[in-house]
Symmetry: C2
Subunit: 483 residues, 2 copies
């Protein structure tokens, strides 16, 4: 299925029909996507999913069959169904580029357009950006834990559906892993796929040694042997070394590695390292897999594990310790017939659920000397930040907490990806996004990169935006008390 138009919550359609019948079809509205907390208690998330959002929006179109299906519900007006069949997507969309570190409370994607359309695309935008951002963020944590060692994404078999396997592997690559086991992600996005053998390969032969020899004969330039089918130290390791000696050496080839997929991998890796070194294979890498994540990898390295490459499966591709990214999509403004933009707010007893109204932009302020990110400032969309003057940051809740910034430059983060329904953005390749992400990570202080209790990054509002939000909060609260 290339067309996910019907992948939407039913209420998007009941509301769309209602907007249509109530005369709001062409009312221009603004929606923001944002999230409230970073998965796993981290200091930041990594934006991902924009390319798939673009694909979705480019293919947005109802078929005759879709309309027939909706008609049978006996809930929607004929005029509305005619509109659905013939409408052309005409929204403007802005998004923070994939690979950018993002923070709670800031708009990461903004849609401006006719109420029906802007509302309708909520489900797929959330689904896409939530999942891919979750996996890019998790991947980056795991890569940080591996501390310079290679990490590969091996999770397809435990992914939550085919899309999760394909796009999750892409997101993990943007977040920093070196490649994937998933061949389709390689074909679609040039994310390098690799892999060697399963236990079943070893079982197919009469002995482990025969299985290893056969593999080495077939892939003399790429011999990584899985050594835990029977017993790593008593069988797999000695058979691997024998294969390297008797098959590869006569061909003038060096082994690539051995893989351990079970048991006490830290302990086994040290034993393997020593034996491989002694046998004359100090260049033979040790690959570890089996339910790894950032916490286990950190512990393994603290205990001196001799591992060169981590294959990470289910705990990455599902973000197992925190499998939900709670991004939301909220109405923030409505254009009145006279062209003025009326800000909209969603209040809540729960203060963290109060939205920030208005059509907005996000600026990231960087220190000119260190190139480190100082703060994000959310502004009205057409506000500009003059980097030639000192800029005063203030906490939007504890407003007496203030800090003056100078010697900085400011970069607007939201880039336009659709203009009046036309895509105006060319997605970089996954490899380019990975490189970009790595460079962006370098702009963050190490204190933000801790797994637990990271430093809290400033996400502030401009004075003008803060004023509008506060005025609106007071007026709504006042109205509420009046009831």
């Amino acid at each position: 299925m290339d067309n996910y138009t019907m992948l939407t919550d039913f209420y998007e359609i009941t509301m769309a029909n209602g907007f249509f019948n109530e005369g709001y079809k062409d009312t221009v509205v603004y929606f923001d996507m944002f999230f409230r907390t970073v998965p796993d208690g981290g200091g930041f998330a990594i934006m991902a999913g924009v390319e798939e959002v673009i694909d979705y929006l480019k293919n947005l179109e109802f078929t005759k069959e879709d309309i027939d299906f909706l008609q049978k519900k006996n809930m929607f007006s004929e005029d509305f169904l005619d509109y659905l069949l013939t409408f052309k997507f005409s929204c403007d969309v802005w998004a923070i580029p994939e690979g950018t570190p993002i923070f709670p409370g800031e708009p990461i994607l903004t849609v401006r357009g006719p109420a029906i359309q802007a509302q309708f695309i909520e489900t797929m935008i959330l689904l896409t950006v939530n999942f891919q951002t979750l996996i890019a963020t998790k991947a980056n944590r795991i890569v940080r834990a591996a501390d310079g060692r290679a990490v590969m994404e091996f999770g397809a078999r435990r992914a939550q559906g085919a899309y999760a396997a394909v796009f999750g592997a892409r997101a993990a690559f943007i977040g920093g892993v070196g490649g994937t086991s998933n061949v389709l992600t390689d074909r679609e996005f040039s994310v390098p796929a690799l892999g060697t053998m399963a236990h079943s390969w070893v079982q197919m032969f009469d002995t482990e040694y025969e299985a290893f020899c056969a593999y080495a004969r077939n892939y003399p330039d790429d011999t990584t042997l899985l050594i835990d089918t029977y017993n790593v130290l008593k069988s797999g390791l000695p058979n691997a070394i024998k294969t390297f000696d008797e098959v590869l050496k006569p061909m003038g080839k060096r082994p690539k590695g051995v893989r351990i997929d079970s048991g006490d991998i830290t302990y086994l890796s040290k034993k393997c390292r020593r034996a491989l070194d002694e046998a004359g294979y100090p260049d033979c890498k040790i690959v570890a897999s089996n339910s790894l994540d950032e916490y286990i990898i950190r512990d393994m390295l603290v205990q001196g594990a001799k591992i060169d490459l981590f294959g990470v499966g289910e705990r990455l591709i599902t973000s197992k310790s925190n499998p939900v990214m709670g991004g939301v999509y909220k109405l923030v403004a409505i254009e009145k017939e006279d062209g003025t933009i009326e800000p909209k707010i969603k209040i809540s007893e729960n203060v963290s659920k109060i939205t920030t109204p208005c059509f907005k932009q996000v600026y990231r302020l960087f220190d000119r000397d260190t190139n480190k990110a100082i703060a994000d400032v959310i502004t009205l969309h057409d506000e500009e930040i003059d980097a030639d003057k000192p800029y005063e940051l203030f906490d939007p809740v504890y407003t007496w907490k203030r800090k003056q910034v100078d010697n900085f430059y400011a970069r607007p983060l939201l880039e336009r990806i659709f203009e009046n329904g036309k895509c105006v953005y060319k997605s970089p390749s996954a490899g380019e996004l990975k490189t970009y992400c790595k460079a962006q990570l370098d702009t963050l202080w190490d204190e933000l990169k801790r797994f637990e209790n990271p430093h809290k990054y400033y996400v502030d509002l401009s004075q003008d935006l803060w004023q509008i939000k506060n005025d609106l909060l007071r007026s709504v609260t006042y109205a509420d008390k009046d009831i």
Copy 2:
């Protein structure tokens, strides 16, 4: 994409090429899929995903582009790539029907066929059955917690990718939920979709009351109002009742419901119930949503929440408390050239990871009087269980634990879905599977349905199978000690 042939782990292809070059292309092998632990510590899982496995296998085919892509890797022989381009899927496949309760250690899907093919399909089979079984299982837990009240699946926006949203909603329906928010799952699988309004509907109007009136005018037969945009008790509830009185009553219509999506829902539901009853709307249902799962629903009901319908989102569609189903796919036998079947075992230091060899069948034994399931017995594939004679069950580890069963009938669970590459099974509709699942659940004792510390169901081996497994274990262990 209808063709997920390339969604496979790279090692499936390196092994396939190796099998081809080593002369194992036509060697017939047997693989089993099984799982080792039930998610969330439950007593059983619910099989799902068979229909999507069938679709995958029917569409299994390499394109010229796929072959070109693989050729560029410079790892695979030309003859092998030619084989891939022209091969016809020719495996036999057996699966336990969707909606059946399944237990750790038993084969839930078995593949028999040429080594290359049977190995190659591992990734998609695991991915598909793991995810859908996970969600059907979770849905069933949540439905049990709701204790007869309706449960709807509302999780698309937090699903892990588009497939997870679509097929997860189908799996949840099989597991017992009443419907979904996902329109595409309705169109594809006739799983009823429903939904009414988001907070943005309310925000689009100048007042909450106007928003409610507009909705009631548009959907007088289906008016469920979201009452927590501003304040449930001070604003949403009184405005809803006023709308019922002033818009619906004059039309002779009754309201459908009110929905609460935030705050202390248990407390608010009681207040709403009383107010609605007093206003003359005892038939108006109360819908609750907002990060619910089986534990929260159980607590809400224990505290007397007055809720008629639960909308369950992210914690169902991702199985948040346990987002990975660890099903595996293991080689269990190889047919020798003389036609004999050689059993294969994968041993492990970790006893729970030892596989059960041979081409097998699973029988479920039911008591003739109560129709309750007594035990599952894994047998050799062509063994039959004679229900006219007493049958002796024994624990495969503590073999002195024995129990004689009589007055029973036995049902083989693995049904053939492919014969020599041709699909020979017609998937029931999602609705039929839901009905079947419910009936199967009735065959399980309540002690198995606890959320924590459920009774352990017997999954035993036949005497013949046990003997083969033990002989094999001894021979392998002996060989291992010999090294």
